[in-house]
């Protein structure tokens, strides 16, 4: 009696993945409802693989769509100046458009906070970085004007 009532209650709510099983095998839907989900070892491995892929997919989606994230290293050495704005514009209007660029952004955001922590302890590196970044900013500006992309806001 109790089990039947529980089944009836459960049947008034359904998840998208449970519904999706209807497109796989209706018998499986009934068995899973009756006995619970029973996973074979290779299915467990597939679930774990999928979970990891979803985590990466989520992170990349967030980074690729962040409206104006921080540009850690440039902000640290230039402040909120035109150099930082140029690099942001290059990130948003050039890098973000392609898969390689997006991968670069992901890698940058992964390592930049650590680099910044190191830079805080070594203030003399700021002037070196400022000099090193000048040609990068010049190239970014050239690229932005060549492609007709909007300049920094």
């Amino acid at each position: 009696m109790k089990a039947a009532a529980k089944r009836r209650r459960r049947s008034t709510s359904v998840s998208a993945s449970e519904l999706a099983q209807m497109g796989v095998c209706e018998r499986l839907v009934v068995f899973e409802h009756r006995y619970g989900t029973r996973g074979l070892p290779q299915q467990q491995a597939a679930i774990e693989r999928s979970r990891r892929a979803h985590e990466r997919f989520y992170r990349r989606g967030r980074i690729a769509s962040a409206p104006l994230g921080r540009c850690f290293i440039a902000t640290m050495v230039f402040g909120e100046g035109p150099e930082t704005q140029t690099l942001r514009a290059f990130r948003d209007q050039v890098l973000r458009r392609g898969p390689t660029g997006r991968r670069l952004i992901v890698t940058y955001y992964r390592i930049a906070p650590g680099v910044c922590r190191m830079l805080v302890r070594q203030p003399w590196t700021h002037s070196v970085l400022r000099i090193a970044l000048r040609p990068v900013i010049w190239l970014a500006l050239r690229w932005l004007s060549a492609t007709g992309a909007r300049r920094a806001p």
């Binding site: 359904v14 998208a16 519904l19 497109g23 796989v24 839907v29 074979l40 690729a64």
Partner: protein, 148 residues
């Protein structure tokens, strides 16, 4: 990201939505992009051996559409995207799919409910090969027959 969604912004990522009604449908949306007209388009990631889209993907995206529309009232596109990442590969392929209409979706929900109360007889699997990896093969007459 699908080419069609280049001008859209990510509106939701890994978010759970729930519809109201006689049968509440809950769905975890991988990604939903909002275009300039305010219409949402769903994107679902799948990791599998074959670079294929199945009916189950269409049903899952349709359930997401139903739950998202029901909870937020926002307009959700009649098509969505399935991003397939093959096992061991890093590249993903994007497939555009047409989602089920409200009526077709309701029919599936109703049929599932009727199957669970044994008011209908469940049909065979989409593919006989599925029985090979099914955990219920010993209990299932169909699966046992296929494996003989």
């Amino acid at each position: 990201m699908p080419q069609d969604l280049r001008a859209s912004r990510l509106a939701y990522a890994e978010q759970l939505f729930r519809s109201t009604g006689p049968v509440a449908v809950s769905a975890n949306v991988d990604r939903a992009y909002r275009d300039q007209a305010g219409v949402l388009t769903l994107v679902e990631l799948k990791t599998r051996n074959a670079d294929k889209v199945y009916l189950s993907d269409v049903i899952e995206l349709s359930a997401q559409r139903h739950a998202l529309h029901s909870q937020t009232g926002e307009q959700v596109s009649e098509h969505g995207y399935v991003v397939v990442q093959r096992v061991g590969a890093t590249r993903k392929r994007v497939h555009r799919v047409k989602l089920l209409g409200d009526e077709q979706f309701s029919l599936i929900v109703t049929r599932r409910e009727r199957l669970l109360i044994q008011a209908e007889i469940p049909g065979p699997p989409r593919s006989a090969a599925l029985c090979e990896h099914c955990a219920y093969r010993s209990e299932c007459k169909w699966g046992a027959r296929r494996s003989r």
